[in-house]
């Protein structure tokens, strides 16, 4: 069964460092998402992406965050200068339906720890 894969599964970084989280969505999906979940809390929307453009973004998704689809298969989230409060699990999701009228398929997540 096709699945969304994310790397790395866990990354530890120093505050102020840049981090890139990678995702390989399901191959025929066109809509991509990043969410984050601080330990024990809710799943927070960061950004959605379609046709090489950001569709929607949240207030959390400020200038330190960026997304891109560099090669037609990977979908990346870059955090330019990490802060302690960026420590969280980051989930990538993909869908083949616009306007979230279909299932979001989530990856297993990338745990980011900022020291």
């Amino acid at each position: 069964e096709p699945e969304v894969t994310q790397t790395p599964s866990h990354q530890v970084t120093q505050m102020g460092q840049e981090v890139i989280l990678r995702c390989v969505p399901i191959s025929n999906h066109l809509y991509f998402y990043w969410y984050r979940q601080i330990l024990g809390q809710k799943v927070e929307f960061l950004v959605s992406f379609y046709n090489n453009e950001i569709s929607e973004k949240s207030e959390i998704f400020d200038d330190q965050f960026s997304v891109e689809r560099p090669d037609g298969s990977n979908f990346t989230l870059k955090i330019r200068s990490t802060k302690l409060e960026d420590s969280a699990m980051y989930f990538c999701a993909s869908s083949n339906s616009d306007r979230v009228t279909g299932e979001l398929f989530f990856g297993e997540g990338s745990r980011l720890t900022v020291l």
């Binding site: 929307f45 929607e56 306007r99 299932e103």
Partner: protein, 111 residues
Amino acid sequence: QQPVQSPQAVILREGEDAVINCSSSKALYSVHWYRQKHGEAPVFLMILLKGGEQKGHEKISASFNEKKQQSSLYLTASQLSYSGTYFCGTAISGGYNKLIFGAGTRLAVHP
């Protein structure tokens, strides 16, 4: 814009039923339900669309009241495997690709 879920937590014995509610102050286009087990990714349960269409797993039951912007997830004859945190996600009418999740309802099913 975040939907409100209730209750925050439920404890059940195997075989008991539960209802989890989700409400929004905005007009909704769709409501999603996901279950997340500890340390794992959210897993899709059901989607309910404006206009009445539903897609999801056969054993899951849910409703969507479009006038009240409310949805309920019905868990009947609960099993141990139902334990986890249930999140509703809502997409507002006029929005595009943005699904916002509620704070979650923790469900524990005991033997």
